[in-house]
Amino acid sequence: MFAYLIRRLLGAIVMLFIVSIAVFLIFFLLPRIGGATADDLASRYVGKTADAAQIHLMAQKLGFTDPLYVQYGRFLAGIFAGADYSTGPTTVHCPAPCLGYSFITQNPVLPDLLDRFPVTLSLAVGGAIVWLSFGVSAGVVSALRKGSLFDRTAMGIALAGVSLPIFFTGLLALNIFSYNLGWFPAGGSYTNFTDNPALWAYDLILPWVTLAFLNAAAYARLTRAGMLETMGEDFIRTARAKGLPERTVVVRHGLRAALTPITTIFGLDIGILLGSSILTEHTYSLNGLGAYALQAITSNDLPKVLGVTILAATFVIVANLVVDILYVVIDPRVRI
């Protein structure tokens, strides 16, 4: 187990390294292949009337004039040793791990990412709890009453949920429940959990439900399919033959087995969501990592893009690792 963990951790680090190189090449090498010079790249970050000399100064400041490997080396050095950058009158130290600093806001990237992480975490975890509870219970009931009105209705809603994009359901929900009925706060409302947990939850209910609507649908369908399969297993017959009440049979024996593959997908979904809940955050104007990523991309802010991509990749890789480890706990047949 221990050796396995070490092996997986090393693999994760190598993976992150590859991701960082890939992102770096996409954003720094591709434009050059397209014919852009260092000054062309830098001209994105200066005012519209800047002349060639000013652009060139900027290119030098941003390091575009150096060879790519030097630039990547600087990025790596920042991660392991930190970096210094100038604010004009003074120099500020960006301690390791320094993911670089933004060309646009001229702020270090990592503090911004950490600052925004709680929003995304709140959104992802809260949404996940909502969709998991609704999706799984709807899936179980649907499976047990296969073909019933409930099953057909739930699966119909699930289909709608999977097909309707968040920016549609989200804006619709805001319009109805926030602006017309006034039950929930407007988009962009967010309170820190540590400041006021009740208000935190209240502010996030609409985003959670919107996010859950999309994912609950998928989980309902997954759970239904899993339960239909599991409830036909021999061990369910055994459980009944023991005289267990049907509820115990369904939950302790049926759902327990059906949840195993769902746990895997759930873990990965959370990982992905932590890295990029772009649509939900954009729709609800929440300043989390997803919104940050979107801003970074639209403003061509390469260090931000790089930072947020690496963070997102980290989440997915860690989620993968956690799922694999969790799998061992969940399914005793899997042993490392």
Partner: protein
């Protein structure tokens, strides 16, 4: 004395009367069990024998009330210790399951939950019917494992099913089934998945435990050899019906139905040459949706021409030929006796 009072005393411990289990499918009605009747007393063992699809497993599931979850259409009567079970409500039947009647399944690997330890599954079975603490139930589980012959039961109790060998798993399964001292034990192909030496051990175990607990036992198998040692009575099933039933002695020494002859012919025996030993039954088991007319066995019967036209037009009645030995066949008793004595027995 009134009828109400007398009724239970007149009935056997288990009495099945004209049991029918039908399933509606898209292709038509599957008549898995179609008019089955038999009796079983406490302390006795009934062997139900037949090919797969003959309705033996379905009828045992019906006894346990497990068919209630499968949307089956059932009719007839099942009397267990004076209670009619088909008309009883779900909750009552559930409370009987595991306690009054228990079941051992064919493949213990798939029949046990892979995510819970063997001990947990026995404890669970025990605690449904006994209000005891986990610790007490655990002690009981260890005792049960010990009783079915599992070495180091106090440590193996925490193992998962996949960590047991096939034979051990079947023992654990038996321990689970017996944990509440059931009065009726149904063993559905309890040895099929096991190798021969282990088979014998398991059969011995069931025999010992039956003597110890005094339960009524039903053993379901396609293998006459299994019931030869164990059963007091034997019922041979074909296409959802009983074609021959009687005491083990009668059925083994004076079988009356061509299908029973076929089953006996299929039994492997160590004292004969392979070439002449096996007399397999021709053809395949019938579809339960389109059961052949008349005697369901006639398409496979070597003697179907003897009784004439009735073979294909009339369903043969189960007729008592003396001493509780019943046969459903259009041939006369003489014809059957002659064929058995002259043609079949010498080849066995």
């Amino acid at each position: 004395m009134t009828d109400l009072y007398e009724a239970p005393t007149q009935r056997s411990f288990l009495e099945v009367d004209d049991l029918r289990v039908h399933f509606n499918t898209d292709d038509g009605v599957v008549k898995s069990v179609d008019g089955l009747s038999f009796k079983l007393e406490r302390g006795k063992t009934l062997g139900i024998v037949g090919e797969s699809g003959s309705g033996k497993s379905v009828s045992s599931m019906a006894l346990m009330g497990l068919q209630r979850y499968a949307k089956a259409k059932m009719s007839g009567e099942i009397w267990l210790d004076g209670e009619e079970l088909l008309s009883a409500d779900d909750e009552h039947v559930r409370s009987l399951r595991g306690k009054k009647m228990a079941m051992i399944f064919q493949d213990p690997l798939s029949a046990m939950h892979p995510f819970y330890t063997v001990g947990a599954q026995i404890i669970e079975a025990y605690r449904i019917h006994h209000k005891v603490t986990k610790a007490v139930a655990r002690k009981h589980a260890i005792e049960m494992l010990d009783r079915v012959g599992i070495p180091q039961p106090s440590s193996r109790v925490d193992d998962y099913p996949h960590q047991f060998s096939g034979g051990m798993r079947q023992r654990a399964m038996i321990a689970m089934a017996l944990s509440c001292d059931p009065e009726l034990l149904i063993a559905d192909e309890p040895t099929t998945a096991l190798d021969v030496t282990v088979q014998a051990q398991i059969l011995d175990l069931i025999k010992d435990l039956q003597q110890e607990f005094g339960s009524a036992v039903i053993i379901i198998t396609h293998d006459l050899g299994v019931v030869a040692e164990l059963a007091d009575d034997i019922m041979v099933m074909y296409a959802g019906r009983s074609v021959e039933q009687g005491s083990a002695r009668e059925v083994f020494h004076s079988p009356q139905h061509p299908y029973t002859w076929g089953l006996l012919g299929s039994m492997p025996r160590l004292d004969r040459d392979r070439s002449e030993r096996l007399l397999p039954i021709k053809g395949t088991p019938p579809s339960l949706i389109n059961v052949p007319s008349g005697c369901a066995f006639h398409p496979r019967c070597a003697f179907k021409d003897l009784p004439g036209e009735a073979t294909t037009s009339q369903v043969p009645e189960l007729v008592d030929i003396g001493g509780g030995h019943k046969v459903a066949c259009h041939m006369t008793v003489d014809q059957r006796l002659r064929i058995w004595t002259n043609e079949i027995q010498p080849k066995l």
